[in-house]
């Protein structure tokens, strides 16, 4: 009897630990865990100073009352970032134009550079032009200091590692902020239509 009970106890404790460690079998990766955590508990994003492709300084909070979709890029990137750029270009086409309805509520797209030292406003402008970014609706920006970059990446839960060729590897996802500036949803970048719908609806 005792051996059977011991085995059953191990299976019960082991299953409970695995269940807890995977958020109920829903997150086996840290990216999955990050998305679940944000969906459960929206995150406050620190008011980090950013500078966009026109050299204008702003914070995400200053976009004031508008839903925001954020992705992270670096302009030298030849793999993930061009795909993220194509996604935002497609989302931009689907967004309501700022001339119709409540202009104040028009969503904004923000691409944030993870390589602010190299990504000067000129480089950001090149990236913006390459993807047809309309500066009123899609701002390509960089944090203004290393401390700002670190704070922003930590708040979003972005992990940046070297790619072994002088560039970076990082989480590829689209981050939706609600009108109060809180990170509320993280989604895959492969469905621009769904992103446009969600960000228009205020995530």
């Amino acid at each position: 009897m005792r051996p059977a009970l011991a085995a059953i106890a191990v299976v019960a404790v082991g299953t409970a630990a695995l269940w807890r460690g995977t958020d109920g079998g829903r997150a086996f990766t840290s990216e999955g865990a990050r998305r679940l955590a944000v969906a459960r508990q929206p995150r406050i994003i620190p008011p980090v100073r950013l500078q966009d492709q026109d050299g204008r300084a702003f914070t995400l909070a200053e976009l004031g009352g508008r839903p925001v979709a954020v992705d992270f890029i670096f302009t030298r990137c030849t793999t993930l970032c061009p795909a993220l750029g194509r996604t935002f270009a497609a989302v931009q086409r689907e967004l309501p134009s700022s001339g119709t309805g409540a202009a104040a509520a028009t969503p904004v797209l923000v691409s944030i550079s993870i390589d602010p030292a190299r990504d000067t406003p000129e480089r950001l402008m090149e990236y913006a032009r390459m993807h047809g970014a309309d500066p009123r609706r899609w701002r390509v920006a960089r944090p203004l200091s290393d401390a700002d970059r670190t704070a922003l990446l930590a708040a979003f839960g972005i992990r940046v590692i070297p790619d072994g060729a002088g560039g970076f590897v990082h989480n590829g996802a689209v981050h939706l902020l609600d009108a109060r500036g809180r990170l509320v949803t993280i989604v895959d970048y492969d469905n621009p239509h769904a992103i446009a719908e969600r960000v228009t609806a205020g995530s």
Partner: protein, 189 residues
């Protein structure tokens, strides 16, 4: 037993070495080093250190688990849990997770397996060995076939290298198992 004491000391020394930050960082700098170097080494440290467990404690454990089933199940759960991609990331990004793994993985994976192994029947050992083959093989296939990065701490190409290495390890384990099964000593009739 001097041999047992030396084995136990080697286990504790290995455990201590794996606690040194420089050693950890070196092993964790590549995904292969992390999964196929550090984790097996932590388990090996626990396995070897088991030699220091006194006879009284072994007998007490044997009273609860005479066939080693609970011990081997403990090891299986520990290995599964700490092999999850998010746990590999956590061990790198969270010092608390790293410390928890350093303290718990050797006893729960290595020592539990060692204590269970010595009480298992031959058929039980063969069952565990054959199942570990399919487990390592499936994990290798998963890492080779996954279309996305599973760990945010490692590149996609490192993940594929782990997959190929796990498949190679499966082949070696399989060869070893076949050799042990069919070329081993014949028991007296």
């Amino acid at each position: 037993m001097p041999g047992a004491r030396a084995r136990g000391a080697a286990g504790v020394a290995l455990w201590g070495a794996l606690a040194v930050p420089a050693v950890r960082h070196l092993l964790e700098s590549s995904m292969v080093g992390h999964m196929m170097g550090e984790l097996p080494a932590l388990a090996a440290a626990g396995w070897l250190a088991t030699a220091l467990v006194p006879g009284r404690a072994r007998r007490a454990l044997a009273a609860f688990d005479p066939h080693g089933v609970a011990a081997v199940l403990t090891a299986a759960f520990a290995i599964t849990a700490w092999s999850l991609p998010r746990q590999l990331d956590a061990a790198i990004t969270s010092p608390a997770s790293a410390l928890t793994r350093l303290l718990l993985f050797p006893p729960l994976a290595g020592s539990a397996l060692a204590l269970g192994w010595e009480r298992m029947t031959g058929l039980g050992r063969a069952f565990v060995a054959a199942n570990s083959l399919s487990m390592v093989g499936a994990m290798g296939w998963l890492y080779v076939a996954a279309p996305v990065r599973l760990c945010t701490s490692y590149r996609f190409d490192q993940q594929q290298t782990v997959g190929v290495s796990l498949l190679a390890a499966t082949g070696l384990l399989c060869a070893g198992l076949v050799a042990a099964a069919f070329v081993g000593r014949v028991p007296p009739a």
